[in-house]
C-alpha cells in the first residue's frame, strides 16, 4: 500500500472494475495535485476511460478507494457526488456532451443554472468563458450547427465556467485535426492554469500529452507513472 502523496487533491488506490469477464481496471493507482495537469496514456481498451470515469465518480469501482480532498468518493451518496460534479469538477469528452436542444451559450451556462444562478448572470459568465475560448460568436447556435473543434471549445468553456478545481478530459481532441486539436489544448491548459484547476487528461497522442506536467500509462488495467526524460 502506497500512502497518498501529501497535499494531493485526488488519490485512487487499488481500483478494480470488471465488465463481465473483462477486467477494465485491475489494481490501478492514481494521484493528482492541485493545479497539476496529468495525462493518462495507453493503448486502446487498456482502461483509460474507465479510470477517468471512476476518478470522477460517475462509475463506481468494484473495489478500491478514491479520496477527493480527504473525502472518500466511493461511499458518497449520489446527491453528494452530483453536487461535486456541479461545483468542483468539469468534464470535456470526445463528443456528445453538449445538450443538442440548447444553444451554445445556454449549454455553457447550464452548470451554473443547475447551481441556482439566475439565467442572466449565468449567461453573462458563460459568455466571458466563451470569449476566452474564442467561440463567443457561436453563442446563439446549437451544437448541431458548429464544427467539431468549435464544439469542443464550447465544451471546455462549459467545463470551466463553474471554476472547478479538477477538470476531466477524455480525448478532448480525439475528433479534431492536429492544428485544431493543438488550439483546443492550448486554450484548455491556459485556462486551467489561470484558474489553478487540475486536469486529468486521457489521450493516446504524445503531442497532446506534451501539454501535461506528468504522464501516467495504463496497460491492462494497471497504471504506472512515466518519468519524463526532460
Amino acid at each position: 500500500m502506497t500512502t497518498s502523496p501529501p497535499g494531493s487533491l485526488l488519490t485512487a488506490h487499488d481500483l478494480r472494475k470488471a465488465y463481465g469477464p473483462t477486467h477494465a481496471l485491475d489494481g490501478a493507482e492514481f494521484s493528482i495535485h492541485p493545479g497539476e495537469i496529468v495525462a493518462i496514456m495507453g493503448p486502446s481498451g487498456s482502461g483509460k476511460s474507465t479510470l477517468l470515469h471512476c476518478l470522477a465518480g460517475i462509475v463506481p469501482p468494484d473495489s478500491g478507494s478514491i479520496t477527493y480532498n480527504g473525502r472518500e468518493l466511493t461511499t458518497m451518496s449520489d446527491a453528494r457526488r452530483s453536487a461535486l460534479r456541479r461545483s468542483e469538477f468539469g468534464f470535456v469528452f470526445q463528443f456528445g456532451q453538449l445538450v443538442p436542444e440548447l444553444t451554445c451559450v445556454e449549454n455553457v451556462a447550464l452548470p451554473l443554472r443547475l447551481n441556482g444562478t439566475s439565467r442572466k448572470d449565468a449567461e453573462k459568465a458563460a459568455l466571458t468563458w466563451m470569449e476566452r475560448l474564442e467561440v463567443d460568436d457561436l453563442k446563439a447556435k446549437r451544437p448541431g450547427e458548429v464544427s467539431g473543434g468549435q464544439g469542443q471549445r464550447v465544451a471546455v468553456a462549459r467545463a470551466l465556467v463553474t471554476g472547478p478545481r479538477l477538470l476531466f478530459a477524455d480525448e478532448p481532441t480525439g475528433a479534431l485535426d492536429s492544428s485544431n486539436g493543438e488550439r483546443v489544448m492550448e486554450l484548455l491548459t491556459e485556462a486551467a492554469r489561470s484558474t489553478n484547476a487540475a486536469v486529468v487528461l486521457v489521450t493516446h497522442e504524445t503531442r497532446v500529452a506534451a501539454y501535461s506536467d506528468r504522464e501516467v500509462v495504463v496497460r491492462d488495467g494497471k497504471s504506472r507513472d512515466m518519468e519524463r526524460a526532460v
Binding site: H53, I58, V59, D78, A79, R81, S82, A83, L84, R85, R86, S87, F89, F91, F93, Q94, F95, G96, Q97, L98, V99, P100, E101, L102, E106, L110, P111, R113, L114, N115, G116, R142, P143, G144, R158, D170
Partner: protein, 783 residues
C-alpha cells in the same frame, strides 16, 4: 427539497420541452398531437352521458303514442297522428301522418307549421336523400311536396331520416295505428331495470375502450424518449443529481401534457363539429349533445398532466440515467418478471369472486369489474417490455436487415414495447369483449319462428282491405315472386247464435298451400285439415263431422239479439268435393281447420272477405326488390307496416351496446393508428443519423427498409401474442362470471388480431416514404 427548487427544476424541464429549434418543436408537436388526440377522445367520452340524455329527451318530447286506453274526444286542441315508419335499404325512416283537428292543436317538436294534405316537413338528411339520384323509389313512396324542415329539437341526430306528412280523414278505429292526442311527450318515462350482464358489458366496453387511450397518452408524453435520455445524461454529467433529473423530466412531460390538453381541446371542438354533421354506423348526433360534463372534463384536465408526470417518474424509476449515457448507450438492465406479473394477477384476483354469479344474482360490483379489467389490461403494458426483452435477447443471427433490427431492439426494447402497448391493450380488450358477446349472444337472441327462406316480407294493413286483388298488386310489382293473401272469417250451423261455429280461412291455391299439403287444388275446392292448430285441441274430428257435403252452413253469422253486431249471414252449402288434408307443420300462420278457395264461397260472402296482411316472397335477383314491395304497400295503404322476416331477433339493448362498441372501437383504432404513425416517425427521426451513415457507406435501402419493418413487426407480433393470451383469459373469466360456457371463438381472435396487424401494416406503409427520404447521406449532418 424546497418547493422553489421543485418549481425551478420543473420549469427547466418545461423549457427543454419547448426549446430546441426545429427538432425540439417537431418532437413537441408530435407529443402535443398525440396527447391531444387522446384528450379529445376522453373529452368525447365525458360527453357520452350527455348524448344519451339529450337523445332520450328528444325521444320523450316527441313521443306520440297513446298509452291510456281512453281516447280524448275531438276538440280544438286535438290532433290525429299515425306512425308510418319505413325503411330505405338499411336505414330507418321515422314517418308520421298528422292531422290537426282544431286551431290549438300542438305542433310536433321542431316543426314550424302543420304540413297540409299532400305536403310534408322533413329532416335535413331526408331532404338530401330524397334529392339524390338513386332515391327514385323513395320519392314514389313518399309522394308529398316538401314544405319545410324539421328543426334540431325534433331530431335525435343530424342524420336522422324523419318526416311529418299532412293528412286528412285519418280514421280512428280499434285496429288502426292512428292515435288522437292533445300533446306530445311521454307522460312518465320510468327507467327500466337493465339486465346485470348488459350492465357488465357496458362497463367492460368503457374500460376496454378507454384503457388504450390512457396507454397511448402515457406513450405520447414519452415521445423522443431516447434523445431525452441522452439529454438527461448530459445534465447528469454536469452535475444534476438523480432527483433533479427526474423532476426535470417530469417538467418536460408536464409541458407536453399541458400543450396536449390545449391541442386536445381544439381537436375536440373540431371533432364535435364534425361528428355533429356525420353519421357513424347509423348513429348521428347534434354538436350540442357533445358538451362534456363539466366535472368529467375538469377531471380530464387534471388527470392528464398528473398522469403524465406520474408515468414519467415511474418510467424513470427503472432507468437510472447515468452521466455516461452521453458517450455510451449501454444495454439496459435485464427486466425482472415478478412485479410485472402483479397487475394482471391482481386483476384476476379482483374478478375471481364474481365467477359463477350469472344474471340472476343482482348487479356485478362495478368497482371490482372496472378495477379487475383495468389491471388485466394494464398488465399487458407491464409484461410486454419483459416479453420483448426475453425474446429478443435470444435472437440475432440472420440477414443483415434482421440483425440490424434485432440488435436495435436489444438496445431499446422499451421504446419498441411502448409503441405496441396501445394496440396490444386494444386488441386484448376487443378479443375479450368479442368472446363475451359471442358467448352470450344466444341469451339475447330469440327465435322468431319466421322462415326468411319462405317469406321475406310481411305487410300489415292498417284496416281491412277487400281480399280480392290485393295480392295481385304485389305479384304485379317488380321483384315480387309471390304474394300470399289470406282472409279469416267465422261460420256456424245457424244464421243466428249458431250452436257450432268455427273460423275458416280463405285464400287461393298458392296461399292455402302455405298452410296445408294439398294433393291437388283448383279454385272452388274446399279442404278440412285433420288437425287443428288452435284452441289446444289437436284433433279436428268435430269439424270434419260438421263439414259434410251438402250441409247448410252460414258464413259470418250474427250473435245475440243486438242488431249492430249483425253479420252477413250468407248461406253456404258445403260442396261435394270437400277433402280432408294434412296441415303443414310449418304452416305460415295459425290456421283455421276449414280452408276454402274463393270460388267455393257464395257471392254474398264477398263483402266479408278482408285481408289483414300479405306475405311477400321476393326475387333476390332483382335489386331493390324490397323497396318495390314497400312501395306497393304504401300505395295501397300509407299506414301499412312492412316487416322483413328474419329467423332471429336480438335484444335491442344488446344490439345497441354492440353498436356502441363498434363505434368506439373505430375511434380507438383510428387514434391508435395515428399514434403509431407518430411514434414510428419519431423513431425514424431518432435514427436518421445512423440511417444516413449506413447509406453513406453503402447499405442498400432495401436492407434498411426491411430492418425498419422487422423492427416494427417483431414487437407487434409479440404484442399481439400477449394480447391474445390476456384477451382470451379475460374473455373466459367474463364468460364464467356470466355463467356462460366458455368456448374458444377463434374466428374473433383472428379477426381482432388481424385488425390490429392491419393497422400496423397501414402505418408502416405510410411511414415508408419519409423513411426513404431520410435515407439520404445528407441526413448525416443534421443533429
Amino acid at each position: 427539497m424546497s418547493p422553489r427548487q421543485w418549481a425551478k427544476d420543473l420549469a427547466l424541464g418545461a423549457r427543454f420541452a419547448v426549446s430546441g429549434g426545429r427538432e425540439g418543436w417537431v418532437r413537441m408537436t408530435l407529443t402535443a398531437v398525440g396527447v391531444g388526440l387522446g384528450v379529445a377522445l376522453l373529452l368525447l367520452c365525458t360527453a357520452l352521458p350527455n348524448v344519451f340524455a339529450a337523445r332520450a329527451k328528444v325521444e320523450d318530447a316527441r313521443f306520440d303514442y297513446a298509452y291510456s286506453a281512453k281516447t280524448p274526444p275531438k276538440a280544438d286542441n286535438t290532433f290525429l297522428i299515425a306512425a308510418t315508419d319505413t325503411t330505405w335499404h338499411d336505414d330507418d325512416i321515422r314517418g308520421r301522418l298528422v292531422e290537426p283537428e282544431g286551431e290549438r292543436a300542438p305542433l310536433p317538436p321542431g316543426v314550424g307549421s302543420f304540413p297540409g294534405k299532400g305536403e310534408m316537413v322533413v329532416s335535413p338528411a331526408l331532404r338530401d336523400l330524397l334529392a339524390s339520384d338513386d332515391a327514385e323509389l323513395l320519392r314514389q313512396r313518399l309522394p308529398y311536396t316538401i314544405t319545410g324542415t324539421i328543426g334540431e329539437s325534433g331530431l335525435i341526430g343530424s342524420h336522422e331520416l324523419a318526416y311529418y306528412a299532412g293528412a286528412s280523414g285519418l280514421k280512428l278505429t280499434d285496429v288502426s295505428p292512428v292515435h288522437r292526442l292533445t300533446e306530445y311527450g311521454k307522460p312518465d318515462a320510468k327507467p327500466e331495470k337493465t339486465d346485470p350482464v348488459l350492465l357488465l358489458m357496458v362497463l367492460v366496453v368503457f374500460v376496454v375502450l378507454l384503457t388504450p387511450v390512457a396507454v397511448f397518452i402515457a406513450a405520447a408524453v414519452r415521445f423522443g424518449g431516447e434523445r431525452r435520455d441522452r439529454r438527461l445524461a448530459a445534465l447528469r454529467l454536469v452535475g444534476s443529481d438523480s432527483h433533479m433529473t427526474r423532476r426535470i423530466a417530469a417538467g418536460e412531460a408536464l409541458a407536453g401534457a399541458v400543450l396536449g390538453l390545449v391541442v386536445g381541446t381544439g381537436f375536440f371542438l373540431l371533432g364535435r363539429q364534425t361528428l355533429g354533421s356525420t353519421e357513424v354506423l347509423g348513429v348521428s348526433v347534434w354538436p350540442g349533445y357533445l358538451d362534456p360534463s363539466p366535472t368529467l372534463a375538469a377531471l380530464v384536465a387534471v388527470a392528464v398532466p398528473v398522469a403524465a408526470v406520474l408515468v414519467t417518474l415511474l418510467a424513470m424509476r427503472g432507468v437510472v440515467v447515468e452521466p455516461l449515457g452521453v458517450v455510451r448507450a449501454a444495454r439496459q438492465r435485464r427486466r425482472r418478471l415478478w412485479w410485472r406479473l402483479l397487475p394482471p394477477l391482481a386483476g384476476l384476483a379482483m374478478l375471481y369472486p364474481m365467477i359463477g354469479k350469472g344474471r340472476g344474482n343482482g348487479d356485478f360490483n362495478k368497482y371490482l369489474v372496472t378495477g379487475g379489467v383495468l389491471l388485466l389490461l394494464i398488465g399487458i403494458t407491464a409484461l410486454l417490455p419483459w416479453v420483448v426483452d426475453a425474446v429478443v435477447v435470444r435472437l440475432g443471427k440472420g440477414a443483415l436487415s434482421w440483425q440490424l433490427a434485432v440488435r436495435r431492439l436489444q438496445l431499446s426494447s422499451g421504446t419498441a414495447a411502448r409503441m405496441v402497448n396501445g394496440i396490444a391493450v386494444a386488441v386484448a380488450g376487443a378479443i375479450a369483449l368479442q368472446m363475451l358477446f359471442t358467448g352470450t349472444q344466444s341469451q339475447y337472441t330469440k327465435a322468431t319462428g319466421e322462415d326468411p327462406a319462405r317469406v321475406q316480407m310481411q305487410v300489415e294493413f292498417s284496416d281491412r282491405k277487400p281480399l280480392s286483388g290485393v295480392e295481385r298488386e304485389f305479384t304485379g310489382a317488380k321483384g315480387v315472386r309471390a304474394a300470399v293473401n289470406l282472409a279469416n272469417l267465422q261460420y256456424g250451423d245457424a244464421r243466428r247464435d249458431p250452436e257450432n261455429s268455427n273460423g275458416l280461412t280463405v285464400g287461393d291455391c298458392t296461399a292455402l298451400r302455405e298452410l296445408a299439403t294439398l294433393p291437388s287444388c283448383k279454385d272452388g275446392d274446399v279442404f278440412v285439415t285433420r288437425t287443428r292448430s288452435h284452441y289446444g285441441t289437436p284433433s279436428n274430428a268435430d269439424e270434419i263431422a260438421l263439414v259434410k257435403p251438402g250441409r247448410r252452413l252460414y258464413i259470418d253469422p250474427s250473435y245475440g239479439g243486438d242488431t249492430t253486431e249483425r253479420g252477413i249471414e250468407a248461406l253456404w252449402t258445403v260442396p261435394a268435393n270437400v277433402r280432408v288434408v294434412e296441415a303443414r307443420k310449418d304452416s305460415l300462420q295459425n290456421y283455421n281447420g276449414l280452408l276454402v278457395t274463393p270460388a267455393a264461397l257464395p257471392a254474398k260472402a264477398a263483402p266479408a272477405l278482408f285481408s289483414e296482411g300479405v306475405y311477400v316472397r321476393l326475387d333476390p335477383s332483382v335489386p331493390d326488390s324490397r323497396e318495390y314491395a314497400r312501395n306497393v304497400a304504401a300505395r295501397i295503404d300509407p299506414l301499412a307496416g312492412t316487416y322483413s322476416w328474419s329467423a332471429t331477433q336480438e335484444n335491442e339493448k344488446y344490439t345497441s351496446i354492440r353498436t356502441g362498441l363498434y363505434v368506439g372501437s373505430a375511434f380507438v383504432l383510428a387514434l391508435i393508428g395515428a399514434s403509431l404513425l407518430v411514434s414510428q416517425l419519431e423513431q425514424l427521426r431518432e435514427r436518421r443519423k445512423l440511417l444516413s451513415a449506413l447509406v453513406a457507406f453503402g447499405a442498400r435501402r432495401r436492407t434498411l427498409s426491411l430492418s425498419v419493418l422487422w423492427q416494427t413487426a417483431l414487437p407487434v407480433g409479440l404484442g399481439l401474442l400477449l394480447a391474445t393470451t390476456v384477451g382470451v383469459t379475460l374473455g373466459s373469466v367474463l364468460l364464467k362470471m356470466t355463467r356462460t360456457p366458455v368456448a374458444m371463438d377463434w374466428a374473433s381472435v383472428l379477426t381482432m388480431t388481424g385488425v390490429g396487424a392491419a393497422v400496423v401494416a397501414v402505418v408502416t406503409l405510410l411511414s415508408l416514404p419519409p423513411l426513404l427520404r431520410m435515407m439520404r447521406p445528407e441526413g448525416l449532418r443534421t443533429e
